[in-house]
């Protein structure tokens, strides 16, 4: 097996794991992490295709795209986390009755 096929298959598994986590986990923080795992898988797939040419340096175009993608992913993560925080705050504020804690309900 070549390096390309090993790493691209691993990348696909990472994407699959991330999508599965995104669907089945409830906590929003965990969903954000799952999105980041998907992003990591996609980056790994791109770079493993860049690694296919053995003679020269790895293809710089996917590298540049991944570099751009990392920064875009962190901005999206930051924004998503701000939204998560805001949602949680609204949820806590909408609890009018302090004796009843919504976190403990089944």
């Amino acid at each position: 097996m070549s390096t390309f096929s090993i790493y691209s298959l691993a990348a696909i598994l990472l994407v699959g794991l991330g999508v599965y986590g995104l669907f089945t986990r409830q906590h929003l923080l965990r969903k954000v992490m799952a999105l980041n795992v998907i992003a990591g898988g996609i980056f790994l797939l791109l770079i493993s295709t860049a690694y296919r040419n053995q003679d020269l340096f790895p293809d710089p175009v996917p590298q540049a795209m991944v570099l751009t993608g990392i920064v875009v992913a962190i901005s999206a993560t930051g924004f998503a986390l701000a939204l998560v925080r805001s949602i949680h705050r609204r949820m806590a504020e909408s609890e009018t009755d302090p004796s009843q804690d919504s976190w403990d309900q089944p």
Partner: protein
């Protein structure tokens, strides 16, 4: 079996295991720590695949900054938020009203969807030719006309200039979005949660010159070796966040105008380059004259580093910082 293959298998097993655990662990704190180690393993994989530029950025962004953001949000959530059952599950399930929310139908649907997606992707990858040059010959053909010697920097700041440009736009948009969500239009009133202690202050004071040196070094290195505006910007962001966290002067000390100026400077300079090159008679948009390209790239890189650093540190400070007045938000 040769040794490098063994290393590959171990690395991939570690990556998959860590991502499985971080999605499956019941404790959110543990998941956050695992997320950081996921970033570190990923950056090992970049090194292995011959992409040190990405490894540098990933170690700083994926492991460092994302970890800081996740920890900040984790701490900022209401107490009890680390439990997996949050209030979204208390609503009755639409698909399967009897069982608790990730019911059997949910899991089955998710599994089918993920299974078919994975199969399709595997088929697509197996269909790809096992060797291929991609765009490498083209890049190396035009490299000497790009104004820099490192191919990744040439792609980022010359051949695919618009990618970098729009990416800076995304960064600015993210910061503006967070400002809107937090209903806050200034960084100056954001404070650190705990009082900074003496030891940390001294330590950061001692380290700050070294970090500034690393920023300049990485920026200069991007011309001919792995490094460049992104990596330098991320280190700058780390420095600004550390300075802020230990109570030193940082971007929270800037006036609002100056801060916004630093935030949009990179995008604005690239816009300026785009407009000038579009209006220039014998050039197409985003095409630089060859004799000027080294200068243009260097200038854009310096400004972009500043903008990336300020934007990323604003992200972190906005997610970590607390406001003194409780009714503010």
């Amino acid at each position: 079996m040769n040794l490098i293959l063994l290393f590959d298998v171990f690395l991939i097993a570690a990556l998959l295991l860590v991502s499985w655990r971080l999605l499956g662990a019941s404790d959110l704190f543990q998941a956050t720590v695992l997320f950081i180690s996921f970033g570190l393993f990923l950056s090992l994989a970049w090194i292995r695949l011959g992409a040190p530029d990405i490894a540098l950025a990933e170690a700083a962004v994926g492991a460092g900054l994302a970890g800081v953001l996740l920890f900040g949000t984790f701490k900022g959530l209401e107490p009890g938020a680390d439990r997996e059952n949050d209030s979204f599950t208390s609503e009755p399930c639409r698909l399967d009203p009897i069982s608790p929310c990730p019911g059997k139908i949910h899991l089955l649907l998710a599994f089918t969807c993920v299974g078919s997606l994975t199969t399709l992707l595997v088929l697509a990858v197996l269909d790809l030719p096992a060797t291929g040059d991609g765009l490498t010959p083209m890049v190396s053909q035009f490299l000497e006309r790009s104004g820099v010697e490192h191919p990744v920097t040439a792609v980022l700041l010359n051949f695919r200039f618009y990618d970098t440009w729009l990416e800076l736009g995304v960064l600015v948009a993210a910061v503006l979005g967070i400002l809107c969500v937090r209903n806050r239009f200034d960084l100056r009133e954001l404070k650190v949660l705990q009082a900074p202690d003496v030891m940390l202050r001294r330590l950061v004071m001692g380290l700050a010159p070294t970090m500034a040196l690393v920023v300049v070094y990485l920026l200069w290195l991007g011309d001919h070796a792995p490094g460049g505006a992104f990596q330098a910007g991320v280190v700058l962001a780390a420095m600004l966040v550390l300075l802020w966290f230990s109570g030193h002067a940082s971007i929270t000390g800037l006036s609002r105008m100056l801060w916004l100026f630093c935030l949009i400077a990179g995008f604005a300079v690239m816009l300026l380059v785009a407009v000038v090159s579009a209006l220039w008679p014998e050039m197409r948009p985003l095409e630089f004259p060859e004799e000027w390209s080294a200068m243009i790239i260097l200038g854009v890189e310096v400004v972009a580093t500043l903008s990336i650093g300020v934007a990323l540190s604003s992200l972190a400070i906005l997610s970590l910082g607390a406001v003194d007045d409780p009714g503010g938000s």
